[in-house]
Amino acid sequence: MFKGLSRNDWIMLAGFTAFVLLMPIILQPIGAAYPALMQKFCIFGIFAIGFNILFGLTGYLSFGHAAFLGVGSYAAVWSFKLFTMNIIPAIFMSVFFAAIFAVVIGYVSLRRSGIYFSILTLAFAQMCYNLAYSVLTPLTNGETGLQLTLRDPRWIDAMFHEPGAGLPRATLFGLETSGGGLGGFYLCAVALIICFYISMRIFRSPFGMMLRAIKSNQNRMRYTGFDTRPYLLAAFVISGVYAGLAGSLMVATDPLAGAERMQWTASGEVVLMTILGGVGTLIGPVVGAAVIKYFENIFSSFGPDTLHGVFSFLPDTIENALVSFLSLFVGEGWNLTLGVIFVLLVVFMPGGIIEGLRRLWVIFTRRRGGGDAVPAAPHPQPAE
């Protein structure tokens, strides 16, 4: 199983693993080293990696992937309520139900391509959202969201020990994953690394190559003897499963699920993450997810006071003018900053943050080595 990746891939995987596991130390200086935020980096990283397998490789832009995230969340909470607080069955349930939803939604939506495919997925996701809000209230607890209660049966747990006082916490064989400790973070981090590895294998496999070929010229694929529908459906289901896993990890770190997780804004967010980081690159979606979650959580907490602190060296009149202008972009206005960055990026660097870093790397190596210091890839690696 552990063979066949090139040396560069192993280096990238090792670097990625080290970075993810050391995040509690590395992220100290930028104030992001608390478990609740790092968990989000990992969970949305998984979501975006999976989304990228569909969008990045095949070019099919789904606007409804949040549905799978929501389905995964509900499935995991039900597993907690009915069976056990151990997260392993919860993860299996999430992945199973997300896969079923993905097969059904994918089978129908993939009959069309381009904008029609996007609209179909959007329609399905909104359908799931509205059902969760209204008709399916017995299953989803509607507006309030699905939560653990003291009256939950938890049959498997009940066989082994008496329920303690208060709500139990999610565990992985004794290791607490909910409640804001590092346990939850390391669970998500390991899941992220495994997901990254699987995505890398898919990118380098014949299956991944076929997906890229479908993106490039689906017509040619058909006349070359390929039935493209099952390839697309497989990619769709894999990305749906990734989303379901992300949903279950959300629940494993914080055992509740609400319908807003399935709203179209949540589907749009993963599109933004993928494009911001770099569509079709291996690592881009994770970077995009982390940047957006960082902005959402850190940048939004900056207020005018922080700005006054930063610009206190300036004369008062300039400082006040500057601060009142810049406060539009921080705090509540973090979305504005993100919007500006996004527009600039799409216009000037359609390849996302990863393309920007690559350009910097080229400039850097040229200046040092001179001439064509860009390393020639030993075999074609157009995806990364």
Partner: protein, 255 residues
């Protein structure tokens, strides 16, 4: 007909687009191992005929029989899997992928069939596929540019690449829609040489072509199509001597 094996039989195919008879009772038999050229003025229905053969267009009447099997409701990919490859009039290639990948993909189709979920063993380990692809690129003289992105090729090179993509599948029947259109005289001649070389492999070919030089240097059999009908059918000498053909096509072409 002779007792040679008929690979492709277009049997009384009729196709109408609105009021236009694109193909009217076309009957065509292609013998195994031959190069069969289809010529005719613009709008004669040549491309429609190829589209019927690969399943892109369903005939109103009649049927296409490949190797004894009627192609009625076959999808394009199923027809390819039976052993029919096609070069398009405007090159259909994977512009974002490298030349080597472009040729490896059809080789995968030939080996693994219409669908195979192979996500575990990396492309880099597929030695047999890679060797076949490199050989096919060498056939068309593009082996030195195997890592170049296909979209950056010139039009003539794109055609050659597409030809390599078909050759790597070693099809029983190769359909070529104007394989030398838009090529320089030099490129045209090298394509003729290439097609002559692969003729010895026993691959049956159907060629649509405007360039009479190409047709008469390659074809064993020629069918002349005009206004959706076959007006002449036979060896190059027969066709050249046929007065109807001169009137419909060659006469105009030589002015």
């Amino acid at each position: 007909m002779s007792d040679k094996n008929i690979v492709l039989h277009v049997a009384d195919v009729h196709k109408r687009f609105g009021g236009l008879h694109a193909l009217a009772d076309v009957d065509l038999q292609v013998e195994e191992g031959t190069v069969h050229a289809i010529i005719g003025p613009n709008g004669a229905g040549k491309s429609t005929l190829l589209n019927v053969c690969v399943g892109r267009i369903k005939p109103d009447r009649g049927q296409v029989v490949f190797d004894g099997q009627a192609l009625n409701n076959h999808q394009p990919h199923q027809i390819n899997q039976l052993g029919v490859s096609r070069v398009f009039q405007t090159p259909e290639i994977f512009a974002d992928l490298s030349l080597l990948e472009n040729v490896m993909i059809p080789a995968f189709a030939k080996r693994d069939g219409a669908f195979r979920f192979n996500a575990s063993s990396p492309v880099a380990k597929q030695k047999d596929i890679r060797e076949k692809a490199e050989a096919a690129l060498e056939d068309v003289g593009l082996q030195n540019r195997r890592n170049v992105e296909a979209g950056s090729l010139s039009r003539g090179d794109k055609r050659r690449l597409e030809l390599a993509m078909c050759l790597v599948q070693n099809p029983r029947l190769l359909l070529l829609d104007e394989p030398t259109a838009g090529m320089s005289r030099h490129d045209t001649n090298s394509t003729i040489d290439l097609l002559k070389r692969i003729k010895s492999r026993g691959m049956t070919k159907v060629i649509i072509e405007h360039d009479m030089h190409v047709v008469f240097s390659l074809a064993d059999k020629i069918s002349v199509l005009a206004q959706g009908r076959i007006i002449a059918d036979g060896t190059p000498e027969d066709v050249r001597a046929n007065p109807k053909v001169k009137e419909a096509y060659l006469g105009e072409a030589q002015t």
